[in-house]
Amino acid sequence: MNRMNIYIVMILLSITTGSIAGEADLLFEAGSRAYLDGDYLEARSKWTQVEENGWVGGDLYYNLGNAYYKTGELGEAILYWEKAATILGEEGDIAANLQIARAQIQDKLDEQVRLPVWDWLDRTRDRLSAGFLTWMAILLSLSGSIIFGLKRWVFRSLDNSRIQIIVIGLVVFLLVDLTMIGLKARDEKLSRAGVFIVPEAEVLSAPAIGSGKLLFTLHEGTKIRIVRVLDDWIEISAGKDKQGWVKAETLGLI
């Protein structure tokens, strides 16, 4: 397949998937063409413009990861693939690329021990959009109220236990949904994780260069969990038992 054919396939794909050829889409396509031509810096520039214009998308983040990887910036590449994974899930191409990139990371950290339910919660709320969660909460709230009201004032002779089960089920779903919304709201203020985008970052015991002792150093591409933010310092948790403060500019937030 020659390049022209690939262009055609990519453009057709975009059309068939219903994307509107707005400015963002045109920039996206321009980035794809530059990438195909091997001009990875140009591709990166186009896709970055799309992002800076306030657009979000799993494909956009994935492609940005590729462009950063091809231009030798491992940390940024991993950062954008991780971002893509929060939207599209870590599978397929994203998983394959992350596997290749992670093999090049200098730091080897023990896996953090977390309850599987927290991982499930993270994955689920990443995959569910804020809009979906919002409308789901409204729907569950209204339907629960209506069912309860009908049973109380209209269909008094209906089997009470069945209605109770339905209402309890709706309430449980509603609580899960509201928990997800709450966590999403928290994520807006404080990212859950980040990736080092500098070759080497010093991790200190306190958020101050003068008083904080150097605990250890971490390197580009290493993913960490964020504990809290204080001005331009971020407290991180790395691996099973390592914790400390790093300068905010060393990290890219997922």
Binding site: V9, M10, L13, S14, T17, G18, S19, I20, A24, D25, F28, E29, S32, Y35, A43, V50, G54, W55, V56, G57, G58, D59, L60, Y62, N63, N66, A67, Y69, K70, D93, A96, N97, I100, A101, A130, G131, L133, T134, W135, A137, I138, S141, L142, S143, G144, S145, I146, F148, G149, R152, W153, I181, K184, A185, E188
Partner: protein
């Protein structure tokens, strides 16, 4: 005195022989078995007969032999007719390493400038191709070997142990049955295996042996013995060449005393209670058999490709649980290998499958036992195979190759394969595939995956919907409505619970309706207008003073309203208005429409004041 002189005389006679006699040395070499088999042990001895001192004897070069044990040295001195002669015997236990006529060169020693040599000895070693006589190995030869080791030349040994094999020459991984037999001429209280042979280079399987050995009467070198088999093992050599099975050692507890009459059965007290069985001094003696040498042949050339070292005589049975199945369904293939041989070492045969077939690791079941002469049984391997493509396939036959020692050749067992039809997921055309298997794809390099086209539309970053006021309103609408409804319901329930209040509410409603109706009648029918208003007021008054409307009297109304601390004007007005209909009815005309309207206003005011009374 005479005795002392005799001694001096003898010393004078003998001393010159010792001091001045020429040192005459003679070396003689001999073997105890002139025709040992390859690997079979035999003893080579150099006997030196001498009168003086004996220089060191240089042993010959044992080319073609391997020294299994030795050298061991024994010396004896004899004085016959005042002549002193000495003898020293140096013994080696040797094993021929090849067949043919092998010669052992003379041993020699140097006496001053003179070299004294022994004779050379030749042994005839039968070639490997000649099969040893198992009967001889298991019978007299074996007994002799064991006895020699056990009694160390003492023909009157009370206890000795032998090891015999049903075959001394065999193919690798073929089985030889080794029998350990104890020979007794004394009462034995107990025995215990002290040292199990090292099994380096062998797989060993124990045959079951009775815990109470069966005794047999045998004669060994003219001596009557009781004999019993104490251990029986199957030996599978894993290497070729001359393989030595180390000796077994047994601790035997013997009763020595003969004061009391004894049973003729040496095992009489073998397993008896020690308290009753103990009749004399107990002695524990360790007896060992000689090491057993086996000549092990390697597999002959020309092994089939599937041969993986299995030896015996086997049958192969392959079953498939279906001949037709859907794509991605499971096909179960069961391969059963049965027969005799070392079944434990048989690995799962490899299934040759067409490309597009996934095969899972097989599960293994076996039922193996040691029969009287061989290991027998069967071993089954169950494979789960999943076709990932549809079409008509030919599964190649399952093949299993082994070496049959009885026939001396390789054999290959196989089934007929299987013609398999795999239906597609949805109406796809079936394709015929050949039976070629897939091969691993070699990865030349790795790279990240290619970029994506825009499969999902880009979305603009915006304030999340859950922060919108509409979300709060819509979300809260249902539960708030529900709460409102429940509150209203509770409020009504509470109001309905007081009958006086309920009557009063109804009366208020009624008086309001009455006054509206009265307004309508004001122009057309003055009497009806006033009657309607008075009726409503009477209902209200009865409800306020909590008395039946029908039983209202002027006095009752006044008294009750006073109890309610009603204003005197209100009381008077109420009583007046309640009787107003009668006055109009009986007073006749004279009431203008305007008068009626003013009167109705009075009703309204009075009713409103009565409503306020508590």
């Amino acid at each position: 005195m005479m005795q002392r002189l005799k001694s001096v005389f003898l010393l004078v006679l003998v001393l010159p022989h010792w001091v001045f006699a020429a040192n005459d040395i003679k070396l003689t070499a001999s073997v105890d078995n002139p025709s040992p088999r390859v690997g079979e042990r035999f003893t080579y001895s150099i006997q030196a007969d001498y009168t003086g001192s004996l220089p060191d004897i240089a042993p010959p070069d044992f080319d073609g032999f391997e020294i299994a044990m030795g050298p061991s040295v024994s010396t004896s001195v004899q004085i016959i007719n005042m002549a002193v002669s000495k003898s020293q015997t140096i013994s080696y236990v040797l094993r021929p390493t090849r067949s043919g006529t092998l010669s052992i060169a003379p041993a020699s020693l140097k006496l001053k400038s003179k070299t004294i040599s022994s004779n050379s000895v030749s042994v005839e070693v039968p070639s490997d191709g000649t099969s040893p006589n198992p009967g001889a190995a298991a019978g007299k030869g074996g007994v002799k070997g064991g006895k020699d080791k056990a009694i160390q030349g003492d023909k009157s040994a009370e206890v000795f142990l032998t090891a015999t094999a049903d075959k001394l020459s065999l193919t690798k991984l073929d089985m030889a049955i080794v029998t350990y037999r104890l020979y007794l001429r004394v009462n034995v209280l107990n025995y215990e295996i002290a040292k199990v042979p090292q099994a380096t280079g062998f797989w060993i399987e124990d045959f079951p042996v009775s815990s109470r050995p069966v005794l047999e009467d045998v004669t060994v070198d003219g001596q009557p013995y009781k004999s019993a088999v104490i251990r029986r093992i199957g030996v599978f050599p894993t290497r070729s060449g001359a393989m030595m099975l180390d000796p077994l050692s047994v601790d035997v507890t013997i009763e020595r005393s003969t004061r009391r009459a004894r049973s003729r059965d040496p095992f009489d007290s073998f397993f008896d209670d020690p308290f009753f069985g103990s009749r004399g001094q107990r002695v524990t003696q360790t007896v060992s058999c000689v090491p057993l040498m086996l000549s092990v042949r390697d597999f002959p050339a020309g092994a089939p490709a599937e041969f993986s070292g299995d030896v015996g005589s086997f049958d192969l049975n392959v079953t498939y649980d279906k001949q037709e199945l859907a794509q991605n369904d499971a096909l179960t293939v069961k391969v059963t290998i049965s027969g005799k041989g070392y079944l434990k070492s048989i690995d799962a045969p490899k299934l040759e499958l067409p490309s597009g077939f996934e095969q899972f690791a097989p599960t293994t079941e076996d039922n193996i036992s040691l029969a009287s002469d061989a290991m027998r049984g069967k071993k089954s391997f169950t494979y789960l195979v999943i076709p990932r493509r549809s079409g008509n396939f030919t599964l190649p036959p399952v093949r299993f190759s082994y070496f049959d020692p009885a026939a001396g050749s390789y054999k290959t067992a196989s089934d007929g394969g299987l013609d398999l039809r795999v239906s597609g997921a949805e109406g796809g055309n079936d394709i015929v595939y050949s039976g070629k298997s897939q091969s691993e794809v070699t990865l030349v390099d790795s790279d990240i995956r290619f970029v994506k086209a825009l499969t999902t539309p880009l979305t603009k970053k915006s304030i999340p919907q859950y922060r919108s006021p509409w979300f709060i309103i819509l979300f809260a609408m249902g539960p708030l409505s529900l709460l409102g409804g429940i509150g209203w319901e509770k409020y009504n329930e509470k109001r309905s619970a007081d009958p006086v209040a309920v009557r009063r509410r109804k009366a208020v409603e009624m008086v309001r309706k009455s006054l509206i109706q009265s307004e309508r009648f004001a122009q057309s029918d003055a009497l009806k207008a006033v009657e309607t208003a008075a009726k409503g007021l009477a209902e209200l008054t009865g409800a306020v003073i909590d008395e039946p409307t029908a039983g209202l009297t002027m006095d009752l109304v006044r008294r009750k309203l006073n109890e309610l601390n009603a204003d005197a004007d209100l009381t008077d007005k109420t009583i007046k208005l309640l009787g107003e209909a009668d006055r109009i009815r009986f007073g006749g005309a004279g009431q203008t429409v305007n008068d009626i309207r003013l009167l109705l206003e009075d009703y309204k005011t009075t009713a409103a004041n009565l409503e306020r009374l508590k």
